[in-house]
Amino acid sequence: MATSRQKETDRAKLLTRRAVLLAGGKLALFSTLIGRLYYLQVLESDRYTMLAEDNRINLRLVPPQRGLIVDRNGEQVATNQQNYRVVIVSEQTRDLEATLNRLGTLIPVSERDRRRVLREARRKRGFVPVMIRENLSWEEVARVEINAPDLPGIGIEVGLSRHYPHGTASAHVLGYVAAVSEAELTGDPLLELPEFKIGKNGVEKTYDLTLRGTAGTSQVEVNALGRVIRELAREEGQMGRPVTLTLDMGLQRFVMNRLGEESASVVVMDVHSGAILALASNPSFDPNQFSKGLSAKDWEELLSNPRAPLTNKVIAGQYAPGSTFKVCVALAALESGLIAPTYRHTCYGHIEVGDLRLHCWKHKGGHGTLDLYQAIARSCDVYFYEVARRIGLERIAQTARRLGLGTPSGIDLPGERPGLIPSREWKLAVVGQPWQLTETLMLGMGQSYILTTPLQLTVMAARIANGGFMVKPHLARDLAVSDRISERSGQRAQARQQAQPESLGFSPAHLAVVQQGMNMVSNEPGGTAFSSRIKDKAMALAGKTGSVQVRRITMAERLAGLRKQEDLPWHERDHALFISYAPVDRPRFACTVVVEHGIGGSRSAAPIAHDVLIEAQKLAPPRSRQIAEAPPSRG
């Protein structure tokens, strides 16, 4: 009994000893916990506090409003319009499809939109609104709002979308905005916002950074799923700066109307400042459809239209200048000193070069004996074959370059093409054959290899008209304000002064000869554009016609008798060109008209220039000009 009790006591003692040991272990482990708590909550607290804030606070960008674009008279040509969108928050509706069906009875919802909404709603989190349709009419908005109780999860959101009040009339100047493509991402987080749009063409593209503005930020508290709990702070962004154009929307509209169905381009430019007053490429497209989203069918149609509505022909259409180039050849001849204005040459309707016979456009009988003035006025090919033969390719090409041909004019529009002034080296390198004498002769009437854009022809006309000064076309009214806003005003004023027009170094007397020739084109009987003369002397225009073959006339055809142009299919007819300026005595505006397949410059291009130049002078009476047309300053 005693031993048993003794044993029991021993057992209890052993257990107590072990229990104390165990308690020590437990105490050690609890101390570890306390140490860890101290480490996390005291030593590392700052770091974790920051991480918790990072978790909780989400910085979101608030896209800025895009800057407005106005014309020279302050008329808005690109604005931001409220755009009503109907959206659905899938977690707020029990049956997504049923709700969509009910919505479909109120406003049209296409099957494609329906499928897209169902797909997006599955992919996105339940509280993220999915856009069903945008650009709702006011009536549709009202219909949805009235039925709101029956449409759980459906809501109306207001956004801003770009609107072009003049639609097709301004499309090629303004371009359009669209969603950012992968290649356009620059790392600017603003570009990654799903609904953000940037300028894709035209002025919208050139001045995108000016128009874009700066993004605001919104600090929101989010939970682990990304749901916004509340907004903590908000910093409004800054709306994009406005861009003022030199364009006269009234004139632009007039030009577009005047062109009607023609596939044509028209430019009106201030000969002193280079300010573009009208820049029209017809047919055009409606940029508003681009912001609303274009249907695949409409897009196909735009792409397959043979009159290329998406191409801005003024800057990207390259044509042989034809007889309009004779003003350049004449100037080159005078500058060379080899030809005097009184130089006379007799036209029998053709000229022989080796075995080849080159024809004048007036191949029956010819023009008879002409001096330089008359040769320009009547556009005698034979006279200019002879002039070109005498002065040679190099002099012609050099003068053409000085007049602004063969290189991009530098207008503030994307997609301008350079044209082409051929040279011996160029032909050997590209065509692989040496330059031929006949080609020099053909160049005398603007036809071999040479390519120009309507805008370059306008620059050429302006440089002749303004007395031989460098002039560069531009669309933004005051580049100093738009582009150089950050610079101090003193520098800006200085930049303005430096922008005195630079002389091209032509002799004023020689320019006067060419001007007189161009005057006779439209103001003397026998001139090729006499029928398009402006009868009001104060507004009179001077110009030069041109027609360009788009197909080669074979000898057999010539012998068989030429088919009438009207009998040819549209795409085989000659292009019609006309360069001009007005008024004759104090030139202000240069105007180029190119009518694709318009048969003849005097026939279809000159009448348009006639109307356009009258309108331009009516819209901008001479007195106000001096102030408005300060030449642009740029560095």
Binding site: S4, L15, T16, L21, L22, Q41, Y48
Partner: protein
């Protein structure tokens, strides 16, 4: 002889005397600790008693009644029933494993009418009872003899195996460590523990092969939390951020951003300590640890105050298991050990856990109520 008389009187306690001997202050302490849990559940539901706090309060109330009932049952009855309970728990464990095989997936629950029963929870208590009874019957010499250790080892390893294949690694570790503690206080030689621990470490590479992919991930993520910050490591990283950002005094009750903005996973169950430390800071964390320490002190006092080896072992087993729950849970949310699904006792939301903890405390209280009852080696009254 007075002692003899006194103990004789203890053999047959009246119901009234038993009630008198219940330590009501322990109940108050349990209530205080559980109340911390109620407050946190109220906060977890964004200042609402629904859906967690109200249910938890009801369960606690029910659990306290159960605790008292368990305490009033004669300790010798528990001893006599020990093996039976163990056997039933074992059968239930096998049953869920079979159901799991049939159901093609992890299965830890048995549906008993409206009640969801987790056999591994029952096993934790059953094993403590069974081991206490077994070691109660061994003399010091017998405990020193390895042959006598074979039976209890089988008693431990059988349920451990069944739990591991469920697979529930956390519970398996908990059972192993809890049983080890009973072996330890029962007097098994310390060198034997060293040998077993050494063998266990040597077996880790082998055991690694048997782990499921997600279990391997948890361990790997624990060893290198940056390995997968958005996947497996996300929970523990968010938990550490919550703890750390709480600072010394916390963000304030109901103000935990990590918890309330759902960055913290399972804030009402396994990660509730994190939420407490985020909202109430290190001060709150230390207060809770203080409450737990007090409970452990009560457990030690009650265990060591028993006159029977069974009572002492049972008390120590219950106390140690309780300690292990607390330590493993808190160490896990602090990123000290890999993520294992162990709730924080008395605080985490969950019916089975709350009831089994209070049942265990009922046994502890039973040891206390019957502290002067002597039990013979074979479980017969006053045999010695």
């Amino acid at each position: 002889m007075a002692l003899q008389l006194d103990s004789l009187n203890q053999q047959q306690l009246t119901f009234g005397r038993k009630l008198w001997r219940i330590n009501w202050s322990l109940l108050v302490l349990l209530g205080a600790t559980a109340s911390v849990g109620f407050a946190m559940l109220y906060s977890a539901a964004n200042a609402s008693f629904e859906p967690w706090a109200s249910k938890q309060i009801m369960r606690f109330g029910f659990g306290i009644v159960m605790l008292i009932s368990v305490a009033l049952v004669d300790i010798r009855v528990w001893m006599r029933l020990a093996y039976v309970i163990y056997g039933v728990a074992l059968v239930l464990l096998i049953a869920v494993d079979i159901a799991g095989v049939i159901g093609m997936g992890a299965q830890r629950w048995i549906a008993l009418g409206p009640l969801q029963l987790q056999p591994s929870e029952i096993m934790k208590i059953a094993l403590v009872l069974a081991l206490a009874r077994y070691f109660h019957s061994l003399s010091i010499e017998e405990v020193g003899n390895p042959i006598y250790l074979i039976a209890p080892l089988i008693m431990v390893l059988l349920p451990v195996y069944l739990v591991v294949i469920q697979p529930d690694l956390g519970t398996a570790v908990l059972i192993l460590l809890g049983s080890g503690a009973i072996f330890f206080v029962a007097g098994v030689r310390i060198w034997k523990f060293i040998v077993v621990t050494g063998a266990g470490i040597a077996a880790i590479p082998v055991g690694w092969q048997f782990l499921r992919e997600y279990q391997k991930n948890r361990v790997l993520t624990f060893l290198n939390p940056e390995r997968d910050p958005l996947g497996a490591g996300y929970h523990i990283l968010q938990s550490k951020i919550a703890l750390g950002s709480g600072g010394v005094v916390g963000k304030g009750f109901l103000q935990g951003t990590q918890s309330h903005l759902s960055f913290l996973p399972e804030r009402q169950t396994d990660f509730i300590f994190t939420m407490l430390a985020e909202e109430l800071g290190m001060v709150g964390g230390l207060i809770l640890l203080g409450l737990y320490t007090l409970l452990l002190v009560y457990g030690y006092a009650m265990s060591l105050g028993s006159r029977s080896q069974f009572g002492r072992l049972l008390g120590m087993g219950v106390t140690t298991t309780f300690f292990l729950y607390v330590f493993i849970n808190i160490a896990m949310v602090m990123g000290l050990i890999p993520v294992v699904g162990v709730p924080l006792p008395l605080i985490s939301y969950g019916g089975t856990a709350m009831l089994s903890i209070l049942f265990a405390f009922g046994l502890l209280m039973c040891v206390h109520v019957h502290r002067d009852v002597r039990i013979g080696r074979r479980g017969l009254d006053n045999e010695g």
